[in-house]
Amino acid sequence: MIALLARDLRLAVRAGGGFGLGLAFFLIVVILVPFSVGPESGLLSRIAPGILWLGALLACLLSLDRILALDWEDGTLDLVATSPLPLEGVVAIKSLAHWLTTGLPLVVAAPLFGLLLNLPVDGYLWLVFSLLIGTPALSVVGTFGAALTVGIKRGGLLLSLLVLPLYVPTLIFGAELARRGAEGQATTTPLLMLAGITFGVIALLPFASALVLRINLR
């Protein structure tokens, strides 16, 4: 499993676009926002947590079809599926690799982008914290979507249509946590809900992903 994780990470780094692409996309989303809503700093700082969350979600979505599609095309996935590893574990490792290559860089870079959007000082910690808790859920749910559409040619758009509704609860609670944190309001409820969603999907969704992957490999 560790070898698989290391392989995925190496591929992401060497093939290019793993770390860089998501971050660049995130940066562009953040830059486009002041152009579209106007550069007024009061307004920007008010909407900053939501925009940053949305940007992170879109950057995550962009890289979802890389999780399984490349391995599917060159046959690696069949090999891995017939190896003694349980497929649930493989899927979990794939999600972890995806999170390490897209989610974690986003978490680290988020304060910098917060600066661009004039995020209030109190908000930085909460933003990073909410992204740290929330982005694993995005990766795990995304892996489920990728497993569903892996057998479909040019399934990228369909993948977005399937995954975006599933992202709604995570986005709501993540952005709410960041916003409340930035405004100094009570954060317990969104924090608990967000953590609940993340741990829940980590515990349950790999089984569903492995199930649909088995169906697709049949």
């Binding site: 569903l148 369909l158 399937l162 599933l166 609860p169 709410e176 809900m193 649909v212 169906i215 049949r218």
Partner: protein
């Protein structure tokens, strides 16, 4: 002997559908005709809402159906995954198309109703928002069906999506509830307290309730007719493609 699983046999199902479809559609037609005519022309205008209240006869039944159809799809998907009855999953597929139309009707009539009442076509209210998300789930479900060539793979994948989607739809429902406070009124048609008579305060008045009940029955019957019809069509389509394949081989 007379177990419900007998109807998993496509031939038997088709025969049953042949009996059910005309009866259900006729009854649905009667219920809807009487209910709508009664509702539109023979009930008084509401003292606050005027004649716009009459959208209720389309809005409430379609909204109820939109949710219940997804539940029915969930059950059908589970039956398919557990017992591999093809008819079950085809029924889910047929129901999804009806469900997406019902959701659209509910959203549209809601907007038309909301404009004069709230002064806006759309607000980001929990009920409205979760319906929009439900609509997206229906679209995703149907799109996945269309995208996959192998019918059994498609059935399996959409069933899993339906189950996972149900969990997330429920989660979204409460998430958006938390996210924003609503303009839409709470449940006022079917409430336990209202039926037993312990609270009559916010319940829809009986003058409006009886035709509404008739419309709800009409929508349910219409759904039953459409599902049987669509499922039978799917079975026939499958049989046709199997015959064509055999012809090509032979």
């Amino acid at each position: 002997m007379n177990s419900i699983w007998e109807y998993a046999n496509p031939v038997k199902f088709s025969k049953t559908a042949g009996v059910v479809v005309p009866w259900a559609s006729a009854l649905a037609g009667i219920c809807l005709f009487v209910g709508l005519v009664w509702g539109f022309f023979f009930t008084p205008d509401d003292f606050r809402q005027g004649s716009t209240v009459k959208i209720i006869y389309l809005h409430v039944p379609s909204a109820m159906m939109a949710i219940n159809i997804w539940v029915m799809m969930l059950v059908a998907s589970l039956v398919w995954l557990i017992r591999r009855h093809h008819v079950s999953v085809l029924a889910a597929k047929g129901a999804a198309t009806v469900g997406v139309v019902m959701t659209l009707i509910a959203l549209f009539t809601g907007a038309v109703w909301g404009q004069p009442m709230w002064g806006t076509w759309w607000v980001w209210d929990p009920r409205l928002t979760s319906f929009l998300i439900l609509f997206l789930f229906y679209l995703g479900y149907l799109a996945l069906w269309e995208a996959i060539d192998n019918p059994d793979t498609a059935a399996d994948l959409t069933s899993v999506l339906c189950i996972v989607g149900s969990v997330f739809a429920l989660l979204s429902r409460y998430a958006v509830n938390f996210w924003n406070q609503g303009l839409h009124q709470g449940a006022s048609v079917m409430r336990a307290g209202a039926v037993t008579g312990t609270d009559t305060e916010e319940k829809v008045s009986n003058i409006f309730f009886y035709p509404l009940l008739l419309c709800i029955f009409g929508f349910v019957l219409l759904f039953v007719a459409l599902v049987f019809l669509r499922t039978r069509t799917e079975i026939h389509k499958r049989r046709t493609s199997a015959l064509l394949a055999r012809e090509r081989l032979g």
